[in-house]
């Protein structure tokens, strides 16, 4: 990797034409450099605006801790999956199977714990199922060559079907799990006020941010999502990158499954079903591009906060529940339009 000491190249020549167009160019380059920053500033503005609205709309509820406590306990279940999903979307891919993977691995978790009474074994099996489900997705997408949207529709039905078959519509009570340390590590209340899952989401958020922005693997995700062919020419193992990204999606779906099961100490067969669109909405509201090659973990984190607080907020400011989906839709349309305008390629 040492410097070659060559200097012949384009000696003295500058590639930049000196003309009045240069000013405009400078502006353009500056804009490009600030692209991600602008995205993250706008999402911050959106979340600030929404909470301001809530606080004005119902100061009684939104100036007290209780509502935030409630957010901290519910948002992480899909928020963590939104972080993992950000990598999938940055790769230019899609995964629709994660709610089903969540349910199937959560069933495994409940069943193994119920039968053996060993929570660590249950965790191990559950996470392994998540990884395995991700590996099945990778197999279909990378080896067989099915587009991820189509492949994961297949595995979405398959794993939901697996849950239906094995669970026979029955839930699994897991009250005994409350006696384990693991329970407190996952969903305990730190100092009796902060739900542990919120800490998990923050720690994982930092971890995912580092991975995507400061790690070689993150760089490879960006390159593959941006341009698969040139990634290959630059010696990036495209298949390996995709395989790992889908496997981590399965892994964190399983982890979210553990968290949501433990929170209520009950497994139920339709678990995870409400998370599909909220997770994806969090990623897209956050500003990650569906075209791949650009992703923001911070955006997804904040996106999850927005999605997760809207429902309670809408009710609290006095609108009826019928408004919820309408406002979801509005916020998605507006935020995604803002990004599209911000990112519009100029010149």
């Amino acid at each position: 990797m040492s410097f070659h000491g060559q200097s012949l190249l384009f000696c003295g020549g500058s590639f930049v034409t000196v003309s009045f167009a240069q000013l405009e160019r400078l502006q353009r380059l500056k804009a490009v450099r600030l692209r991600l920053l602008r995205l993250e500033i706008s999402i911050t503005a959106v979340v600030a605006g929404i909470f301001l609205l809530f606080i004005i709309g119902n100061p009684k509820v939104f100036t007290r801790f209780d509502i935030y406590y409630s957010f901290m306990s519910t948002i992480p279940f899909f928020g963590i999956m939104a972080l993992a999903m950000t990598l999938v979307v940055t790769l230019g891919e899609m995964d629709l199977s994660f709610p089903s993977v969540l349910a199937f691995s959560a069933w495994m978790f409940g069943k193994v714990f119920q039968v053996t009474g060993n929570i660590w074994l249950a965790v191990l099996v559950c996470l392994a199922i998540g990884l395995g489900a991700g590996a099945l997705n990778s197999l279909l997408i990378v080896r067989v060559g099915i587009p991820s949207l189509v492949a994961t529709i297949g595995t979405m039905f398959f794993f939901r079907g697996m849950v239906n078959v094995v669970a026979q519509g029955k839930g699994i009570p897991l009250v005994k799990a409350k006696e384990t340390i693991f329970y407190y590590l996952c969903v305990g209340r730190i100092g009796e006020v902060v739900p542990a899952q919120a800490v998990w989401m923050i720690v994982l958020g930092i971890g995912f941010w580092l991975l995507l922005n400061r790690h070689r693997f993150g760089s490879h995700i960006l390159f593959v999502g941006d341009n698969e062919e040139s990634s290959r020419m630059m010696g990036i193992d495209v298949e390996r990158v995709k395989t790992i990204v889908f496997m981590q999606m399965g892994f964190f779906a399983a982890f979210a499954g553990i968290l949501s099961t433990l929170e209520v100490t009950y497994f139920w067969p339709s678990q995870g079903q409400g998370y599909l669109l909220t997770t994806l909405a969090a990623v897209f509201i956050g500003g990650t591009s569906v075209f791949g090659g650009m992703g923001t973990i911070y955006g997804s984190f904040v996106g999850a906060l927005i999605i997760g607080s809207l429902e309670a907020g809408i009710i609290a400011i006095g609108l009826s529940g019928f408004w919820i989906q309408l406002i979801y839709g509005l916020i998605i349309m507006v935020s995604v339009s803002i990004y599209a305008i911000l990112l519009r390629k100029r010149g």
């Binding site: 012949l8 040139s230 990634s231 390629k345």
Partner: protein, 257 residues
């Protein structure tokens, strides 16, 4: 480097076959590149030039055939391996990722990292800065290591791609259609660069279908046609007009003479 044993060629490819499914792209191609030699690899679209290059650089494995580099048989060639051996490829802007910054693009696939694979962002930025200012000669302040590739012009992208190949030590530099889509003055710079490779005692393969550009800089020409080597000529044995005439005849009749 020039005093290396000149009887063994730097690169030799023997009886290379490559097929994708049932499509045979290369049918037994033999190509050699000598030390300090610039080889012009010419041929029409679909002749198999790009496939041949991808075999040399390890993007595709050959279906059969042998590759020797510096006298050693190379098996299991990968992009990483070929780079370690000293083969660098300039794929023009096709090997740059548009939305990524220059400091990421320069080190794509061979990032400078700490232990556990975390990027040395500062080092990558500093080295990219050096590359931009000293090696490529960008003077505009508008282009920084944080600029994204999509904001550059075609010539600037080309400069980045070539500069990147130069930055990493290479004995053999492969230029895949390096003048495509460039203005006259940008093309001039690319040709100067190829002259520079020769002066430094290195070798290059210059792939093009434009004889005007390759004739002045190459020592030897290899004409590829529908997966076969149709002919080889030293520059001293053939004039530019004759070469061009042969190419046209090849395209029309499938024969060189």
């Amino acid at each position: 480097m020039a005093q290396e044993n000149s009887s063994t060629p730097l690169l030799s490819m023997v009886n290379i076959h490559k097929s994708f499914g049932e499509v045979n792209v290369l049918n037994g191609v033999d190509v050699t590149v000598g030390h300090n030699e610039i080889v012009g690899l010419v041929g029409d679209n679909g002749a198999g030039k790009s496939t041949l290059i991808k075999i040399i650089t390890g993007v595709h494995p050959p279906t059969s055939g042998e590759v020797y580099f510096k006298g050693e048989r190379i098996t299991m060639l990968s992009v990483r391996r070929s780079r370690e051996l000293g083969i660098e490829t300039v794929y023009q802007e096709r090997a740059l990722a548009d939305q990524q910054t220059l400091w990421r693009n320069t080190f794509a696939g061979r990032e400078l990292t700490h232990r556990f694979g975390f990027l040395k962002v500062k080092d990558q930025k500093e080295e990219t800065e050096k590359l931009l200012r000293e090696h490529i000669g960008f003077t505009s302040k508008a282009i920084t290591t944080d600029s994204m590739v999509l904001s550059l012009s075609g010539g600037e992208k080309q400069g980045i791609a070539i500069g990147r190949a130069l930055y990493f030590k290479a004995d053999l530099i492969i230029l895949d259609e390096p003048t495509m889509g460039l203005s006259l003055s940008e093309t001039r710079r690319v040709l100067d660069f190829v002259h520079g490779i020769k002066e430094k005692g290195k070798s290059a393969i210059f792939i093009t279908h434009n004889i005007y550009y390759v004739y002045p800089v190459a020592d030897r020409f290899v004409i590829l046609d529908r997966g076969n080597v149709a002919g080889e000529f030293l520059k001293k044995d053939i004039s530019q007009d004759d070469l061009e005439e042969k190419m046209v005849r090849l395209a029309q009749t499938g024969k060189l003479n």
